[in-house]
Subunit: 455 residues, 2 copies
Amino acid sequence: MEKTLDYARASQSRFLEQLVEFLRIPSISTLPEYASKVRFAAEWLAAEVARIGMEHVQIFDTPGHPLVYADWLHSESAPTVLIYGHYDVQPVDPIEDWVSPPFDPEIRDGKIYARGATDDKGQVFMHLKALDSCLQENRELPINVKVIFEGEEESGSVNLENWVLDHTDLLTADSVLISDSSWLNSDQPTIPYSLRGIAAAEIHVYGPKHDLHSGGYGGTVHNPASALATIIAALHDEVDHVKIPGFYDRVRILSADERAELQRVPRHLEDWQRETGLEKPWGEKRYSLIERTGTRPTCEVNGMWSGFTGTGGKTIIPAEAHAKITMRLVADQDPFEIQQLFSKHVMGLAPDDLSVAVETMPDVGWPATTPIDCREMIAAREVYQTVWGIPAVLVPGGGSIPVVATLQRALDIPILLMGFGLPDAGVHAPNEWFSLDQFEKGIEALIRYYHLPDS
Amino acid sequence: MEKTLDYARASQSRFLEQLVEFLRIPSISTLPEYASKVRFAAEWLAAEVARIGMEHVQIFDTPGHPLVYADWLHSESAPTVLIYGHYDVQPVDPIEDWVSPPFDPEIRDGKIYARGATDDKGQVFMHLKALDSCLQENRELPINVKVIFEGEEESGSVNLENWVLDHTDLLTADSVLISDSSWLNSDQPTIPYSLRGIAAAEIHVYGPKHDLHSGGYGGTVHNPASALATIIAALHDEVDHVKIPGFYDRVRILSADERAELQRVPRHLEDWQRETGLEKPWGEKRYSLIERTGTRPTCEVNGMWSGFTGTGGKTIIPAEAHAKITMRLVADQDPFEIQQLFSKHVMGLAPDDLSVAVETMPDVGWPATTPIDCREMIAAREVYQTVWGIPAVLVPGGGSIPVVATLQRALDIPILLMGFGLPDAGVHAPNEWFSLDQFEKGIEALIRYYHLPDS
């Protein structure tokens, strides 16, 4: 392994040149006019995995953008790792805020600036260079590897689930490895061991057939905005709990071990205050900040609107009122069941003098959890410790990456999120960057991870 | 008087031609580019009142559009009536919905179609023609008359109050007569004897310094939309009363006489259902529909907004949430006091983890009431009975015409709303019209009113 590591270290500037070439491809999956560029990125990637010695390289077409598959399966007694990543990127708006063009990568102050540098082309490419180093130096890998690179992650992975369910045999493995996450702080290696699920719904309140003059009708018509407000107010109780009956029934109770581990997560009130601009956190008092975002479900208004919202006044009773709601879910909540409980609760609050409808959104995300004592997690922590010299912290993630739950539910194997992104790296924003130091150390970490027994 | 009535009847087609000329002037007061047209309308009106024999004709400039004043004060023992009207009109959008151009009046099916036909040029012009008929036929009026025509009613009468307060001596009179209202039904002469006041405020809830990712922060941040909803929900109790402490303290208790009179108002549930498209009225159960709109105060959400309101989803905790509120007030509520009570109530509901601000709007309207047994009211009812053959109904108005309260508070005399508009006449909407029959009968009614002893 030392020779492989030496090879990788010696090849850094060449690796970086190759990464620049990859980042130059504007593979924006959400914009139809970039479809041919997305395909070109898939073809570039397929050629690259073939060039480094991976086998069975294949581009799978989907109703949307293609997937790239490849494998190397010659380490008979070793486990098989399925590496997932995505080669598509977010749009670049507002383009005028970029210091250097998003698809003309530029290195400044030890960082490479480009759209996709962190999310996720840079991290995908680290895997390719780790595998490349092993294969060039040894003509073999210490483990079996399958790679699957998606081109629709930034547009909701809409075709991934069906494709995965159609190809479970092809994807058989002992674990999934994904490098598409970021650290809690710049010097704190971080492993998210769970992600929240998500379920969305809209509440629609319909009142009079059109906006009414509040002089002629005020006092006789139930105001839809007031009715919606009353419903929204009844989604939480006075101790900030979600009031939907049954909402918490399947939520796992935190073990003493897990809470002890969570106490070590360096999630500080001062950081929360700086990030939010607020003084005082809200929420379930008996849970810490990291517990609230990582292990507890929520019910949030994302948007709400009714009536006249322009400058000045308009004396109307609005005809309708609407709200967009998302609920973040934790193990073992079922997003479809939660949507039903939500609908039932809201409809139970609906007044009998207006029409209330709940529209549940079909795209849900399931919560996903990887056991913190599984061998992959232990191996990953050892690698972070070796390369960065400090223990990785295990963090329950507050966000939702639907692909993680999709793969976990389809393959029923541990999923390890071994990411290298740093905070404030401009992910989904202008001036996205990736640290060259993380790039180099991350490749080393991946090589070490591949070499750990049973990893 | 009969000769005057004959003169008026014989002159109808000429009166109508003159009205068309008046309606051709696009005196839209809210649009700055029409300012010269508004002034031209004032000049046209000044010339017309001079031509018919009114005296002391004067155009008063204001910081906005001018006022036209004139008088005729030679009936020494008779009372003085101050006639108020407005010569400015609403904008015409959506212009494409007009069957004939808004400033090219067209007669169809016994109606004249033009912007301002009902509101208020048509009704102003009826007064001019009633006065014209008296002066042409008799060289004198049976009463003393002052007229004041405003050019800013449709843009909030922003300069009227100061002008009135500066000219109370000029405006001294025994009563005010205004023809700027409409009937309850097409065959039901209607006298609004009160108008509600109005007080407006906005509630602003400020949370995190920018929208936050609902994954990373959900569960730790008080959602401003939820907080606003909780405040709005607490503006009414479960029996549809406004929950602001002190809100009803000054509201007059309806007398048995007034309630008996209100029972006679033909305000039917079926009409309310047709107009609103709703089945079931809301509001204070022990008051009838007309009592709720005419004699009880309200607190309405006119608009409310927060976060993401576009198509699809955006998983954010919104940075802020806002609502526009207006309260309709009845005698003897004080709009400024009500704004204070509202602010206090809302600030008392404000959570300690977000910033809440109440912005009260400086333009308020006071409630106004004319005693139903004053001599002007009795005279007007007699006139309606004579001309249309059925008794006028006395209705407490739900809307707010700030000028009425302004004149009443400045001059402290009864204000009679003797309007001739019909329902659904397109006031503030495309295809505004005025009935030619109402035009003719209304002029007769005004001539009769001027002639009634002590009117």
